[in-house]
């Protein structure tokens, strides 16, 4: 890693803008419980919506681990994100059943509608799109899940409508039925 990148990363690990006191209850719950790092990371992500590097540093310090180890775990699992996400996280299934029934076209429609690629967040901070493999509703393929709610039997048009409804509702407009 070049010098300037390393410095940049160092500042992120020491970022003072992240309120680390929010982690206290998590530490209180898991102190002295071995094998809790994944659970701690999950709770941390619930709080911030992602894993700030400075929080990883704090977790490393608190659990007596090297931060490389915590970082290693955080980047191993696809659930963890190192950058902030939108208010609505769209998980788009690319499992077998969904693939066979046209997940790709649904995906293109989402990307086109929101102007982002998988893994990205819209500039207004409303939507994040992530690809996943199977949400377990394969008989309703193609499927997406938005903040825990599953939508099935999608077409490019119906998925656009779902997203437009949410965006509309956020603007304070009237939500029309999909």
């Amino acid at each position: 890693m070049c010098n300037s990148c390393e410095k940049q990363l160092e500042t992120k690990f020491a970022d003072g803008n992240v309120d680390l006191t929010l982690l206290e209850p998590i530490f209180a719950e898991y102190t002295g419980k071995p094998g809790s790092i994944i659970s701690i990371l999950q709770k941390t992500q619930e709080i911030y919506g992602y894993l700030p590097l400075s929080a990883l540093q704090a977790i490393a310090d608190k659990t007596g681990n090297k931060r490389a180890k915590i970082y290693g775990i955080a980047t191993f699992y696809s659930q963890f994100r190192l950058s902030p996400v939108g208010k609505y996280v769209i998980l788009q299934c690319h499992g077998t059943a969904c693939h066979v029934l046209g997940a790709e076209k649904v995906g293109s429609a989402i990307c086109d509608e929101l102007g982002i690629s998988p893994g990205e967040t819209t500039t207004d901070g409303l939507f994040t799109l992530e690809d996943v493999a199977c949400l377990g509703c394969c008989s309703l393929a193609p499927v997406i899940m938005i903040n825990g709610e599953t939508y099935g039997k999608l077409t490019p048009d119906s998925v656009r409508k779902i997203l437009q409804n949410i965006a509309e509702a956020e603007k304070g407009g009237v939500v029309c039925e999909a």
Binding site: H94, G136, C137, C138, L140, T150
Partner: protein, 585 residues
């Protein structure tokens, strides 16, 4: 009268919540309180949302694809008026729909029947009686013997005899032992574990507690994937209810046997379904598999003797102990006893979950129960075993579904996912799809799995992009052998299977891609050409309007033309054309 609504993830996604809200509103409007039971999934997902009306003689009328409007009608005419709406009813308890009548439901016996959030419902179905019998009347060895008689084999994929693992864990020395449930269900296209977790969580808990007694463990851990939020919620409720009634926890039913239960959420890694990786993940580490032996039965979670089984495996256990191993072994074939749950998805009419005796022919499962291919297209293949499995072609539709017969085809039973494919599915694209999956999910420990799958994927990507070369098929076969041999865990050892089976049965499709630069199923975009047929085009301008890259030109009422240099082959024009004028070659 009672009302029952399918309220698994699938039922909710299909619109079950609005139906329930409507029914509740109707009750309020009419001041008529009717018992409303929210259940898990009955398996007829293509019929969701499903509403059952149960009359006072316990006759069940099943209404399918219920909308809020239909729900109102059902409430007014059937519940209040006492007149069944024959035109909407798809099945009744005395004349069940074929998809139900051909099944033998053991693991799924309560799914879609009881309210999973209500322990009393489970108790009313003889719940926890098997556990009571086990801990009050049987020895651990007696339990293992009963499981042996049943012939139960692991439902998580490998099909290992369950009693053998229990016995090994029982014989292992140590005060502290663990029972672990593998609820990671990573195979994309399989959802039987989700259904059990959401629809009958107590069956799993009871099965695990029985296992705990048999091997001498006092603690159970369920490793459940985070993509199943509803399953986790219902498990949490079930555990706390069971503890309140002293069916779990300390000194269960006053017998001195204690068994506590914990849930751990997975964090999204397919390889964590592999048992040693799962244990590493339970311990909070990166989920990397390790070499066996030692097997988990000797040294597993926290290096203690551990027995790990799949959700469906455990869900069979209470039934086996309650009814006896012999009764279970009466179903199935010589080497594959009992029943198996299959998840039917893909291009099938009646997608959903079915539980049938082992040994039923694939054809029966797909046609008689699954209703055949959607839109009456031609069957091409069924994919079994997910990323570790393979595609079984039409010629082999009479293969019985049992562990050994399926393995002979080059696929594996796996967890029971069956993805049905029709003439419009490209088999080379499927091979690419699965390899893309395993390549991404490889943990990276073994070089062949990490880099070998990547190289194979690159070749497949080349072929589907129209740049296949002579010798590619042979190179794939050669790499497949190396990846199988050079990988430590099942992920790498089985990753080439989808490629090998598609080459074995659909070599002509590979050759069409490589030699003729054609995709027979018309899926691989770079190999397609879109043209507008002069005879059919009416000049309606719709395709030109919908083309994202302005590749289509033409005046109203005149023939439109696609500029091949600009065309990105998105297929929009073909989708929107009302005159079928866009041809794909």
């Amino acid at each position: 009268m009672k009302l029952r609504v399918g309220f698994g993830s699938c039922g909710i996604a299909a619109g079950g919540r609005k139906v329930v809200e409507k029914l509740e509103a109707e009750m309020k409007n009419h001041g008529q309180q009717v018992e409303l039971i929210l259940t898990g999934c009955i398996g007829m997902c293509f019929y969701e949302p499903i509403v059952d009306v149960i009359d006072n003689n316990d006759k069940v009328y099943t209404y399918a694809n219920v909308t809020p409007e239909k729900a109102e009608e059902i409430f007014n005419t059937h519940i209040l008026g006492g007149k069944p709406l024959e035109q909407y009813i798809v099945s009744t308890s005395d004349k069940p729909y074929p998809i139900l009548s051909k099944q033998v439901r053991i693991a799924l016996k309560n799914c879609g029947i009881i309210n999973p959030e209500n322990l009393d419902d489970y108790l009313a179905k003889d719940g926890y009686k098997a556990l009571a019998k086990v801990i009050k009347e049987m020895t651990p060895e007696g339990v293992i013997e009963e499981v042996k008689v049943s012939g139960l084999r692991g439902r998580g994929g490998a099909g290992f005899p369950t009693w053998f693992k229990w016995n090994a864990a029982n014989k292992s020395k140590g005060d502290i032992k663990y029972v672990v449930c593998n609820a990671d269900e990573g195979d994309p296209g399989a959802f039987m574990d989700r259904s059990v977790l959401e629809g009958d969580p107590h069956a799993l808990l009871e099965g695990m507690a029985i296992c705990g007694y048999a091997i001498g463990a006092r603690e159970g851990h369920i490793y459940c994937r985070a993509e199943y939020p509803l399953a986790i919620k219902r498990l949490e409720i079930a555990i706390s209810e069971a503890k309140k009634k002293n069916l779990l926890g300390d000194n269960i039913m006053g017998t001195g046997f204690s068994f506590d239960m914990h849930i751990k959420k997975g964090a999204g890694a397919f390889v964590c379904g592999e048992e040693t990786a799962l244990i590493a993940s339970l311990e909070g580490e990166r989920g990397m598999p390790r070499l066996k032996p030692p097997f988990p039965a000797q040294s597993g979670f926290w290096a203690k003797p551990t027995n790990i089984n799949n959700v469906e495996t455990f869900a069979n256990v209470p039934w086996i102990l309650f009814n006896g191993g012999k009764a279970y072994a009466a179903y199935g074939t010589e080497k594959s006893k009992g029943t198996k749950v299959f998840a039917l998805a893909g291009k099938i009419k009646n997608g959903g979950l079915v539980e049938v005796p082992m040994g039923m022919k694939l054809r029966e499962v797909i046609y008689d129960i699954g209703g055949g291919i959607a839109n009456d297209k031609d069957f091409k293949a069924v994919q079994m075993g997910g990323p570790s499995g393979g595609c079984i072609p039409k010629e082999l539709l009479d293969t019985p579904v049992d562990y050994d017969s399926i393995t002979k085809t080059g696929a594996i039973m796996g967890s029971g996912g069956m993805i049905v494919m029709d003439e419009d599915t490209c088999m080379v694209d499927m091979a690419r799809f699965f390899l893309d999956f395993t390549c991404k999910e490889s943990c990276g420990k073994c070089i062949y799995c990490r880099i070998g799958t990547k190289r194979m994927l690159e070749i497949l990507e080349r072929i589907t992009a129209g740049q296949g070369r002579e010798g590619d098929i042979e190179k794939l076969q050669e790499l497949a052998v190396s990846v199988k041999d050079g990988s430590l865990c099942g992920l790498g050892q089985t990753a080439p299977n989808p490629v090998l089976t598609t080459i074995r049965y659909f070599r002509h499709e590979y050759e069409a891609h490589i030699r003729d630069k054609k995709c027979p199923a018309k899926i691989c975009k770079p190999l397609l050409t879109y043209t507008i047929n002069a005879d059919a085009c009416k000049g309606c301008t719709l395709c030109a309007k919908k083309c994202a890259v302005q590749a289509i030109t033409g005046k109203p009422k005149q023939l439109h033309v696609i500029d091949q240099a600009l065309c990105t082959k998105c297929g929009n024009c073909a989708t929107v054309c009302r005159f079928n004028a866009v041809g794909i070659e």
